[in-house]
Amino acid sequence: MAGLAAALGSGAMTNAVSEIGEAACIFVIGSNTSAAHPIIGRQIARAVKQGAKLIAADPRRTVLRRMADVWIRHEPGTDVALLNAMARVIIKKKLFDTSFVEERCEGFEAFEAAVKDGDLAEAEQITSVPAQKIVEAARMYATFSPATILYAMGITQHSHGTDNVRAVANLALLTGNLGKPSSGVNPLRGQNNVQGACDMGALPNVLPGYQKVEDQNIRKKFEKAWNCQLNPSPGLVLTELFESVHAGNVKALYIMGENPMVSEANTSFVQEAISHLELLVVQDLFLTETAQMADVVLPAASFAEKDGTFTNTERRVQRVRKAIEPVGNSLPDWVIIRDLAKNMGAKGFDFNSPEEIMEEIRGLTPSYGGITYGRISKVGLQWPCPDLDHPGTPYLFAEKFSTPSGRGQFAPLSYTPPAEVVSHEYPFILTTRRSYFHFHSTLSRKVDGMNVLRGEERVEINPVDAAPLEIEDGDAVKVTSKRGTVQAKAKITQTTPPGVISMTFHYPETRTNLLTHGALDPVAKIPEFKVCAVKVEREIDFGTQYLGWGTGKIG
């Protein structure tokens, strides 16, 4: 997100989901769209049927491969090398949009200089993608217009994810695929309201609407509205936060609706950190792994038990409605926070309904200025929607970018290998994936049927690798990284390329994230979930242990 904001001025999806159908070329990288975002996956499939070109790039063999015109299977963690090589081809063959680059962008010379040295043979060597395919993909993306790029965690969850995102943005700027329908750079959001949580300022450095905490004028505006004194220094980002907790600087932690014990990289570190806390408050629907460690657990109501809004991946603010009364003795999160704040003597928390909260949001967040419950009762509006007459914005940057200069920013990038590379001891790359049926850790696991469909972790291994290790389909295997060991059953499949194994992180009993490491992207601070070095062994003395349980330090 940080990468995209630096390049274009906003970290959100630039175009609407419904525009995908009209694109002439769709470039999907680092997203197993059909599994993670099935409804978008279907739109891609239909667009392809109607003649759109599809370029699919993923180390794993995703469903999209079957319909792709060009299928690129690059080595995990080599995205920048691949994207730079494509940019080089586009520049060399003069396929780029000169007027767009001149009129609307900045930093082209530096970018050109950065990609010029290096050649296709080198890119081929790094990425293991035949040079011919790189050329084909570059040509296709540059010549079929409008072209749209879709990406997801496969791009961002790396120690250099920000570079990856900038490399993607470079391509779009280069070919003028921004600021018009069916084009753009489109990060597909994982959880339902990530976009909204960011918009609302659930971030350490910005207030609602991405207004910087460090900006004195912004602070003044909020201090006046909230009648308080604001702390001028940005807070800790998630991963720094756990380090700080570990070091004893943060003593009390309040977690609303998240389960970092399962979802964070390097889980054993997170667990150790949490045990150093003096106070842990968890507010959730279930007694999650994290809640089990809490001092205070507050039962929250689910989405079906409260009113409010979610903002989807294409910036559309949509109305969520209460269908049933809160289950048991639970309460909606907003009620809990309100009551707590009021109990602590705070002013400005006298809300009687989410609608009243939205009215306050509207007054302080320019991009939400025109969004009222009345206007979105039937169909949601896409922000920016600054005033009550504004129809919402399906695609961004029609006239100018939101960067300080109003121009799109090229970034000169060079390829850096992943933070952890394979070694003799840990010869495999582990990448994490998502399954159709589960989403992150908690909700879908509570649906019985979903567990029938995919009830336990499966480690995907290519037959080429499985044979010498004498692993057969369904065998129990032990996967070890420098940080821990987990066990699961093996699934022998071509889906995963040789040298790579893949696991999900949906199952608390197989804590994949015990293996992953906390190497952070220096800007976005996203841990490197996608690449880590591991070894795989067949579990021999398996009968003594219950299948599927991790044998890390936990439990």
Binding site: V17, D199, P204, K251, F286, R321, N329, I361
Partner: protein, 375 residues
């Protein structure tokens, strides 16, 4: 698109755009033509022959669902001959149908029932035709729906749905003649097949062949948004007696236009999971324990709550909301500033995220707020 083709249907003048079918033209003019294998949004296969109509100056009858209009066409949708043909076609479909309607969950919304009402049948001929009803095993392997081949009328809608809408192509027609059957690849149970359980085919099956498990008709529907992924599909939750019994796609939502994936359609079940927390919990520490731990690290904190406690250290005790909030308020006071941090949730609403960050910034006086999903 301009309505540049003129034709008459049952004597009515109708204008439609080029490429429209006779069925679409009739529907735009408000003329009912019975159909069975036709489904809006899918290609028409012309499999059932129920929609046959007469076109002047043409021999044979033509299926309205897949015959394109031509300028000057004169179409008749109803007369004695058409009625007779439809009746025979329907009787053939009924002849091997397991019509135990009273116990069928589809009863009332079944398209076959509606057709029988509209077209009728000749009882004597029908009895002669009626073979032994099929007795094929029902596939109950999928956790969200069942497939009863004995009720299938071979309209092919499910197959086209899976191919054209879902793009999975998990099912097809297998075997021939009397044995013709909708089947997954290799006639595997649904659970073992390529099927991703999205339920789109179940939604469209005109009869009770593909039918959701535990069907209960809701008494009320609420328009809302799916809580699983960032696509934000619109859906209607069906409510009955304080529980959610059904979810269906919202056709007016521009993102999903009525479609849903397995999580949207079936994932709501977590809401009524027996594992839901139902009371605030506070960890009770033995007040005699010499080393203060956790919440007791804060002086006086915990005192009001440690009265009716379990003596065992580290157990959760259920408390009332009032107690929990008061206790938390009195404890958090000691942690203001940067020694406090909070994680907000990408699962909560905008309003809740807003309120939470406001709480952290205004009441706790720190910017230490983030959430777990950075994409």
């Amino acid at each position: 698109m301009t309505n540049n083709i003129s034709l008459t249907i049952n004597g009515l003048d109708v204008k439609v755009p080029e490429g429209a079918t006779i069925l679409e033209a009739a529907q735009s003019a408000g003329v009912y033509i019975p159909t069975l294998c036709y489904c809006p949004g899918l290609t028409s296969e012309g499999a059932c022959r129920i929609c046959l109509v007469k076109i002047e100056k043409k021999k044979k009858l033509h299926p309205a669902c897949r015959t394109p209009v031509e300028d000057g066409m004169v179409v008749i949708t109803d007369d004695a001959e058409i009625d007779q043909v439809r009746r025979v076609t329907l009787e053939l479909i009924l002849s091997d149908h397991d019509f135990n309607c009273l116990l069928c969950p589809k009863s009332g919304t079944c398209r076959l029932q509606a057709l029988v009402n509209h077209i009728g049948f000749d009882e004597r001929r029908f009895n002669r035709l009626n073979r032994v009803a099929k007795d094929l095993p029902v596939d109950t392997s999928n956790p969200f729906f069942d497939f009863n081949p004995n009720k299938c009328i071979h309209c092919g809608i499910c197959i086209r749905t899976c191919r054209e809408i879902v793009g999975v192509d998990a099912i097809n027609m297998a075997y021939r003649g009397y044995d013709l059957k909708v089947s997954t690849f290799g006639d595997q149970p649904f659970k073992e097949s390529a099927c991703v359980s999205c339920g789109e085919c179940v939604e469209r099956c005109p009869v009770g062949a593909l039918i959701p498990k535990d069907v209960k008709h809701p008494t009320r529907e609420v328009k809302t948004i799916c809580a699983y992924c960032g696509v934000g599909c619109g859906l209607y939750l069906g409510v009955r007696g304080g529980t959610i019994v059904k979810a269906r796609g919202d056709h007016s939502n521009p993102v999903n236009r009525g479609e849903l994936c397995v999580r949207g359609r079936s994932g709501y079940r977590f809401v009524n999971s027996p594992d839901r927390l139902s009371s605030p919990l506070v960890r009770a520490y033995d007040p005699l324990e010499s080393k203060p731990q956790g919440i007791n690290g804060a002086p006086e904190a915990g005192k009001p709550l440690t009265r009716p406690l379990v003596k065992e250290r580290g157990e959760f005790v259920e408390v009332s909301w009032d107690q929990a909030i008061k206790y938390l308020a009195s404890t958090l006071v000691h942690y203001k500033g940067d020694q406090f941090a909070a994680l907000s949730s990408a699962k909560c609403t905008n309003e809740e995220n807003y309120l939470f960050q406001k709480f952290v910034r205004v009441v706790m006086g720190t910017n230490n707020i983030d959430h777990c999903a950075r994409l």
